[in-house]
């Protein structure tokens, strides 16, 4: 199969890569670009561990072709912190012990970031349904929901 040349923007950087026509964005990120923060938990869009934000919408990167990235704007977990300054969600996940094994954490963070961008003050129910596509098998979700609530409050300027 002839490879496809793709030019895209990932975490504010212009990135060019070659990929096979049937290669997923997840495989491109992990295998060609070294962005291994996105994880493959299922490959079928059921677990959310590969979540990335494409043109402002959170998607499963396992269900996007690499070729589709042409001209898009992509955010991955590697771009979430500003240098050494963690995003409030990242900080709150650590503070609330909202992660155990951590394999689902990058996906949860991307999805939660997308949530707070459209809904800065979500209810617990809204958080739970928005994050229903991100599976976590360790935490029972309790501390994850609390971390998102706390990060949202901080981002709204309600707590220190």
């Amino acid at each position: 199969m002839p490879a496809i040349a793709v030019s895209t923007t990932i975490n504010d950087d212009t990135v060019e890569f070659l990929c096979q026509p049937d290669e997923t964005l997840l495989d491109v990120l992990r295998n060609r670009l070294g962005l291994m923060g996105a994880k493959e938990g299922c490959g079928t869009g059921d677990c959310g561990a590969c979540s990335a934000i494409v043109d402002g919408r959170v998607v499963c990167s396992c269900l996007v072709l690499g070729a589709e990235a042409e001209g898009r704007t992509i955010e991955t977990i590697e771009g979430m912190a500003n240098g050494n300054e963690l995003h409030p969600l990242q900080r709150k996940f650590i503070e609330h012990a909202a992660l155990q094994c951590g394999i689902c954490t990058p996906g949860f963070l991307m999805a939660a970031k997308a949530l707070l961008e459209v809904n800065p003050d979500p209810t617990e129910t809204e958080i739970r349904f928005w994050l229903a596509g991100n599976l976590c098998r360790c935490t029972g979700y309790d501390k994850i929901v609390r971390a998102v609530q706390d990060a949202a409050a901080e981002m709204r300027g309600e707590t220190a």
């Binding site: 869009g45 919408r57 959170v58 998607v59 499963c60 269900l63 072709l65 589709e68």
Partner: protein, 286 residues
């Protein structure tokens, strides 16, 4: 395998018409890429229709709404006019998969995947929506119910692509609702789906109704007897019971990993009742 991203519908249909054996249209990809994971899957051509002008738009016309084939489901709920006009269609589309899936999946894809359990299809059928199809021989329109012909099968000819879904402008005091049953609260395929679209007359009785069921037959069912049970009533208990019985009787489901025949038949009636109550309340507010 080739990946093509045509800029016009003419190029897209030409690609599909001239394709080798296994050609697939790619919009949201949330079904297609899952199939691609399978070792048995083989594709020669994938035609990505997202670059075609207008395909990503929801347009309000005098006749209703035109929803482009590449509009992700999440965008439907962001269109206030569409939500106001067809809340059941939007809630059905918004039940497809997770937030992540919502960012990609389309109602046209949901239709063309031709799963008997597709969430948006019963709602579209109840809404009397139509599909606008482009092909090498020009464009045509068909009723949504006529697109799927069985599990995984559609009535499209070689080279044809659904460009858009056309939703009519609802009559006054009309509303729809969709409910599905899944074991969890999210992420499952519908075990049963029920859509009800109804209109109220001046006296508050139901003057028109369409009831459609999903996941209880090889393809979506439009249940005339169920509609008849509603028409002329004020959604009293007798009408609801007749509706439920009609839906249960019309259901012809299978036993599988998601539910049993008995379960699906019974719950089809339960959901139709509940959807009718929601639609009735909404219509009263319109």
């Amino acid at each position: 395998m080739r990946y093509e991203r045509p800029q016009t519908i003419e190029d897209a249909t030409a690609l599909m018409a001239g394709a080798e054996a296994n050609a697939f249209v790619l919009a949201g990809g949330t079904d297609l890429l899952v199939r691609m994971q399978s070792d048995a899957f083989e594709a020669d051509l994938i035609v990505d229709i997202k670059a075609i002008s207008g395909f990503d738009a929801i347009t309000q016309t005098e006749d209703g709404f035109v929803i482009g084939a590449a509009v992700p489901s999440a965008a439907l709920s962001e269109d206030a006019a569409l939500v106001a006009a067809w809340p059941g269609v939007v809630e059905a589309a918004n039940l497809i998969g997770s937030t992540q899936i919502q960012g990609r999946c389309t109602i046209v894809g949901n239709l063309c995947n031709a799963s008997p359990a597709a969430d948006s299809v019963p709602a579209l059928v109840a809404a009397d929506a139509r599909a606008q199809i482009a092909g090498p021989a020009g464009t045509r329109e068909v009723a949504i119910a006529d697109v799927p012909t069985g599990p995984g099968k559609v009535s499209l000819s070689k080279g044809e692509i659904i460009e858009a879904v056309l939703l009519p402008k609802p009559e006054p005091r009309t509303a729809d609702a969709y409910l599905r049953f899944i074991p969890r609260t999210e992420m499952d395929i519908a075990v049963v789906g029920a859509a009800v679209n109804l209109s109220l007359g001046d006296d508050g009785t139901i003057s028109a109704a369409r009831v459609a069921l999903g996941a209880v037959a090889p393809k979506v069912l439009l249940v005339e007897e169920a509609a008849e049970a509603l028409i002329g009533s004020n959604l009293d208990e007798a009408a609801l019971e007749a509706l439920a019985v009609a839906c249960s009787n019309a259901s012809n489901p299978i036993d599988d990993k998601r539910g049993t025949v008995e379960y699906r038949k019974e719950v089809a009636g339960v959901l139709a009742r509940r959807a009718a109550q929601t639609a009735y309340a909404r219509a009263g507010e319109n």
